[in-house]
């Protein structure tokens, strides 16, 4: 199958168009169409995973020929006169950095679609937007042309704005536009860097200015005196142009990740969004930020990344601690989980900044693990909220007695998230911290105290998760809504089990056999480290 990635990306779009075309008499079936799409995507992505070659001959990163499932079609060719021709391709391909995210995206989308059963109004618009978002997310992870990447990256914003704004909670208007403005602020400046890059980079095969990300990673493709040339050392406002470009790109993706202090959109967006959208936000969109830092920021500007690694590590540690401390202080369960996302994504940044194989592997695994776990957590919160329309921690007590199966899943999700050995988050966080710890010896990028700071974060996350577990689930059953709530708080149903079991299995599988992920990523991560810190 030559066009498998295109099918993966555009299948949801086709389904979205189908939903738009179908009359409202089919409105009860829209969710099944969406679900069918995600199931097909899940099968395709698993097939891709099984078929994925993990040998070093297919490491990818900065060698075009080593990417798998390549698709390349000329898209826009514009003659710009004096400066030459502009070359934009429809260029897809995957390597070890992107392939795991395809599986994760398909899985999270599947869960999110199952969570969409709670949506009661305007099914047509909801599922069309959800599928459009699906297309955009898949596209971001597959695109290797920077222009195409940017198109998909921006395409994510629009459906999200409406998904949060139309089906969200009380403060949805504020949350939706805040999210949109924050992300756009980062990405507009990213656009400027993209343009600067394509002026600087020449495709050696055709002599055209190109948007090919892989060619941008090779210093020899830069024009000698161009703005981002590695040898010319151009300056902008007294800072090295390449460092400035790195910072701009980093900020754009850091807003998505999000890192403190650019995270303030996240609690609002997560809390106001309906459950399926929270799942996608936490499960996938934050990962787009981390993926962008790996694929774009560091791969294109490695020397600037080495220069700023200390700061990245510091921001990572601050995110871990600040997010965890905030989570401790929350009274709203969904807000607590939102802040725990900030904290957990801090490990990704810390691992990446270490510039070691362990650290980057840990960061990748953390993204996948957190993608599944945050989807699970938001799904669980959504279940409670859906039943009684309340999610204040103080409103519940002793839920374990009335919802035992539900509590079992919560326990799995909480323990997995706080990094209990045997679950994926433990492996991921351990590797990130090992990377940060050994970095001082291997390449000297990060001091040891950052690893210690990160470890304190694990302690804090244990504190807030266990404390929440104790407050909400243990003890005598006491509910704010009294007997009405007691009858409404039904235990878990089949649909919910179907959604939760794969996520729990993923967390366990990756915790016990992390090599399921590591073996497929390792060649790419080695090549990435080679590019990053030499």
């Amino acid at each position: 199958m030559d066009y498998i990635l295109s099918i993966l990306i555009f299948l949801p779009l086709v389904a979205a168009l189908l939903i738009i075309v179908l009359g409202s008499s089919f409105r009860e079936r829209f969710k099944y169409i969406a679900l069918a799409v995600t199931v097909i995507q899940l099968f395709i992505s698993i097939a891709i995973y099984l078929d994925f070659s993990s040998s070093t001959a297919f490491a990818g990163i900065n060698k075009e020929s080593q990417f798998q499932l390549l698709e390349k079609i000329p898209w826009i060719r514009l003659d710009l006169g004096s400066i030459g021709k502009l070359e934009i391709d429809y260029f897809l391909g995957i390597d070890g950095l992107s392939m795991p995210f395809l599986v994760l995206s398909a899985l999270v989308m599947f869960v999110a679609t199952l969570a969409s059963w709670e949506i009661k109004t305007n099914h047509k618009a909801f599922f069309a937007l959800l599928l459009l978002l699906n297309t955009a997310v898949m596209g971001v992870f597959c695109a290797l042309d920077f222009f195409l990447f940017y198109v998909f990256y921006e395409l994510m914003l629009l459906p999200l704005y409406f998904l949060i704004g139309m089906w969200g909670g009380a403060r949805r208007e504020y949350a939706a536009i805040k999210f949109f403005l924050y992300t756009l602020f980062g990405s507009v400046f990213m656009l400027l860097v993209i343009i600067g890059l394509y002026f600087s980079v020449i495709n050696p095969a055709t002599g055209n200015h190109t948007f090919n990300m892989i060619l941008m990673m090779d210093p020899s493709n830069y024009i000698g005196n161009s703005i981002f040339s590695t040898v010319a050392n151009q300056e902008l406002f007294g800072i090295s142009a390449r460092l400035l470009a790195f910072i701009v790109l980093f900020i754009a993706f850091a807003i998505k990740v999000p890192v403190v202090p650019l995270h303030t959109w996240l609690p609002d967006a997560h809390v106001e969004a309906p459950t399926p959208v929270s799942i996608i936000l936490a499960g996938l969109l934050l990962k787009v930020g981390g993926y962008g830092i790996l694929r774009v920021c560091i791969s294109i500007f490695p020397e600037a990344a080495v220069q700023s690694a200390w700061w990245l590590g510091l921001i990572g540690v601050i995110s871990i601690l600040y997010g965890a401390l905030n989570a401790l202080a929350q009274t709203d369960l969904k807000r607590l989980i939102a802040y725990s996302s900030v904290s957990h994504m801090g490990f990704v940044l810390l691992g990446i900044a270490s510039g070691t194989v362990e650290g980057v592997s840990g960061a990748m695994l953390q993204m996948i693990s957190h993608g599944g776990l945050s989807a699970m957590l938001f799904f669980l919160v959504g279940m409670i909220y859906n039943r009684v329309h309340d999610r204040d921690i103080a409103s519940f007590r002793g839920l374990a007695l009335i919802m035992p199966q539900f509590t079992a899943f919560v326990v799995i999700a909480f323990f997995a998230s706080l990094g209990l050995p045997g679950f994926s988050a433990f492996m991921a966080e351990a590797f990130s911290l090992i990377g940060a710890f050994t970095s001082a010896e291997i390449n000297g990028l990060l001091p040891r105290w950052m690893a210690i700071g990160g470890a304190v974060g694990i302690l804090l996350s244990a504190a807030y998760f266990l404390w929440t577990l104790q407050r909400m689930f243990f003890g005598q059953t006491r509910l704010k809504g009294g007997d009405i709530w007691l009858s409404q708080l039904k235990d878990i149903n089949i649909r919910e089990k179907v959604a939760l079991v794969p996520l729990a299995v993923l967390a366990l599988a990756l915790g016990i056999f992390p090599s399921l992920a590591f073996s497929k990523m390792n060649a790419s991560i080695l090549a990435f480290i080679q590019l990053f810190s030499g």
Partner: protein
Amino acid sequence: MMNDFIQNISPSINDTIRSLSLFYPEIGIATGFILVVLADLFFHRRSPQASFMLTILCLALVGCLNFSQLGYPAEAAFGGMIIVDRLAVVFKIIFCFVSVLFVLFVRYNQSLQNSSKGTGDLYSILLAVHLGLHLMVMSQNLVMIYLSLEMVSVGSYLMVGYLSGNPKQSEAAMKYALFGAVCSAFMLYGMSLLYGFTGSLEIYSPQFASFLITTPFASWGLGLIMLLTGIAFKLSLVPFHFWSPDVYEGAPTPVTAFLSTGPKIAGFALLIRILAPFQPFNLSGIDSSIFSMTTVLAVMAIASMVVGNFGAIWQNNVKRVLAYSSIGHTGFMLMALFVFSASGFKALIFYMVIYSIMNMAAFMIVDEIEERTGKQNIDDYKGLGKSFTVLMIAMVVVLVSLTGLPPTAGFTAKFLIFSAAIEAYNLSGSALMMIVIITGAISTVVSLFYYFRIPLNAFLRTGENQVTGIKGSPKVYITLFLVFLLIFFILFPSPIQKLL
């Protein structure tokens, strides 16, 4: 004495006859103009839409003639008054597109159709303005520039005041005419200064160029600045923008849509023509002096983007919002001219094509909503997403395109302008250029904020009294076609690229 002239007669006649062959589209418009006037006079009662049909036919014919001129080599005509080159022809094709949309818009606008004046005169005025637009983009002689600009201006004044149903409309027309008259007086004075200094009216003549090279900028700079005043007025660049919000609000919506596209595009074409002879000094020579052309344009661009985009935040009337946003867009487009070369022009033309599609579509939707519900304010758009779903989705696509986000052609257009601006920065390395670019980026974020107040009200909020939905009307279909173009051109931009 007489004999001296006799020698010149036959070459001059030959030149005129030769020039006529380059002048077919304009002759076509002139003929169409007369026919429309006659048709409106004699057949108005029997077939009220005769003038509409004639205008459309005429524009279609002119469009074909323009297309046939695409391959021509650049050639001056009528003793150097005008020049027919690829740039001019491309602009003329864009005008045809805009005018056709305008004519359709007028045809399906209730308030114009129901007015006692009828629409026949509006069509004939349009053709006259269209002729003016054609001449504007072709002129290379100061007198011709002035004449064509006035031709467009006078026609525009008439269009704005066409209904004059209420004091607001009359005020708009009056304001426009007065402001325009002052600016054109400035322009004329600037031209006379330039003519006095150089002794030539032809801006591409060697005489003109040699004077500019030998004389310091300070002496003729004032003339050039005054000349630019006239164009800045047409473009509604800050600080000559004060007329535009009032005029946009007061004029009949189709006229507003036309004013925000046709004359504005022509203004840019004229700007390219006028700046061309001054280019050799632009980035190097003049910049070293205290008073620099680039600085003037850069400051204007920054001011327009800031005033346009921040001004729009405080507006509530949709047409005023679009007026301010169009000021911002003009400032943004100005960025393409800092790199005065083919790539800059290409970016600009691409932007203008997309811009005219977006603006026409936006005004059509606004007009449709106004006709159906009488709502003109953004706050009143609450809940319209329910009753006018298709129309409001189209509006969202248009607004996304106006913001310059994928997946719409507005993104490609914005991208090309940024490319041109960054190229200009690469060439000059001036910090001012960087500030312009950053202003452009920030104004994009700001523009999202006010553009999205429309979907915010239409989709995220619910209205008190639901208006019942509508079945498709011609305007809706035209809008949908335009929206389709916006999405089509990001996937397949080659049709426009071929034109460039």
